[in-house]
Symmetry: D3
Subunit: 132 residues, 6 copies
């Protein structure tokens, strides 16, 4: 099997995303602050897990964007707001259309049911800011 090892080329930096959306800005700032605490701990097993997690979404047999959208579909179905925000932002940085994000969230709602809807509402608030 082909190795999933090429880093994708992002069209936008995190800073540019944060300038476009206040929801994204706050999410990224809080995530950075908390991740700093985790990195300080320097837990070796956790660092390896973070590394695998990173490699999962690289360009491989499937392009990075398609896997970010899969990550979004799973995150919404599992109702993880932070994960939803993260994968929406990564997909946006990789040039995803708004319609492709909506269709992905539709998969999550149909597979995961109406309990996904509160998370979908918050995801749409982020979409509104990013695609305005």
């Amino acid at each position: 099997m082909r190795s999933s090892s090429r880093e994708p080329e992002f069209q936008l930096s995190y800073t540019q995303v944060a300038e476009k959306s206040e929801i994204a800005r706050r999410f990224l700032a809080e995530r950075d602050a908390l991740n700093a605490t985790v990195e300080e701990a320097n837990n070796s097993l956790l660092k390896r897990f973070y590394n695998i997690d990173h490699n999962t979404y690289l360009n491989g047999e499937l392009p990075a964007l398609q896997k970010e959208l899969q990550g979004l579909a799973v995150s919404a179905a599992l109702r993880c707001d932070d994960c939803i925000h993260y994968h929406v932002i990564q997909s946006f940085r990789l040039g995803a259309s708004r319609a492709s994000l909506e269709e992905t969230l539709n998969v999550s709602v149909v597979v995961g049911g109406s309990i996904v809807v509160p998370h979908l509402r918050r995801a749409y608030a982020l979409l509104s800011e990013l695609y305005s």
Copy 2:
């Protein structure tokens, strides 16, 4: 937003899949038998839910195959063997490569953790038969 309304063109029928894989054959036969019982009941709300579910995976902004793979990613992360079997079969019928199915399942394992692994093992048994 563009409507998700075009049926995809499958390259293989269910019968052809069942001839290729014994696991698929048994899954499809049991699914048909149980669905017959549900259809007999003629529950109108359920029929509408089935209809929405069908429309979720049509060609739209994203091609049908990409959404079948999203459905697979979600199904594996939510640990639903029947759903995994179904989306693997649909993806196979739409021409998915084995490597693309493996990368999709990797997303599920990394997002959903080692409790996904028993389901992944059974998915790989199906992959082995379909791609032999």
Copy 3:
């Protein structure tokens, strides 16, 4: 608050249910066999948990049947086949109509999404035998 302490009057015994449905008969037999193993262990905390569980579905402010249906709705949304079988059987023994069971399962599917559907199919197979 009124105490939930009156045992409901079942219209049918387990034996009568088992005579009507082969699916129910096999489920009840396996459940009895496994519960015997648990009882043998005589774990005091577990016995207290079983006791609370029993008391949850007694007649109280709400009639027992209404709470059995709630138990069914939750069990289906949480995708627990054994729990679904159990609450369908208890509801049937308390005189529930087939339509009331279907509406309850509709709540589970809409709240819990399409991953509930494989469990709903198996529940409908049981309904078909019980209400034939």
Copy 4:
């Protein structure tokens, strides 16, 4: 099967509920604001899902209130605060007693375990305001 198509008669408007409870008022205001963003998107599949969701809780074989309580039981067991708030408010508007809501939440805690308790605590805070 009888069709689930009659709208229930609510005894209280959302405005009246918001006047009675600050928790409800804030929840409804935030929900309205976020739903406006979703409605603006005009996603056709999502609109159909919202429509099925609405129809699930109409008067049918089972009265609307009984299904709202089932929705509450499922929501609490699946640990969705927004969903819990919504179904508590709908049940309250349909005349549910406080004791019936508590018994419903007991089903959720016993089926779903102690991880439900933090959500139950927040639900009780809402109950205290609504039934004061």
Copy 5:
């Protein structure tokens, strides 16, 4: 089987924990306020559930600390922030080392996947305050 009935000896009171960590202080204050509302309701079934819950973590065959860590592992895998905070605090009060808490959280992340990571980040923020 030996009865799990001996209360553990905590090395620190809640007040001492709250003085050490602002995150813990806020969590405990909110939890106390909400629990007061629950206790006021005086729901008998719920009181019995709280009682079983309390007894689960007493010294028995396994020492209380080991079971608090198990409670933490489960809470993190099930993604319940309140439960994580509670079991971290109880473990800290029983003298757990920071490394033992990190290893326990590693089990949760590996079994539960990357959706656990946002909760792990918040847990590490609490660890940083408690073990500073």
Copy 6:
């Protein structure tokens, strides 16, 4: 933080466990067969995940047995029969007493609720064979 890198010393081989329990024998045989299919695929990301998973349960700050029990607690709360069987067997091979396994499962039932009970019944069937 101390590295989790020492392999534990198992008191029993898988073969010895399989001779003691028919349930264990069948579980291990099926697991081996399916794992062979996964290994054949030689998916590099998956191999790294398996490796992290293995390292999670080594002797470290906490002894291997304590982490196997944590893995069992999480597996039962997440309702994964294969995972439950695996961690029960590993704990048994490391010399766990039956009472310590029961107390661990009590944590899962109290945290995860009555939907854990069907899995607990099957776990007790395995315990009965292993500790006879």
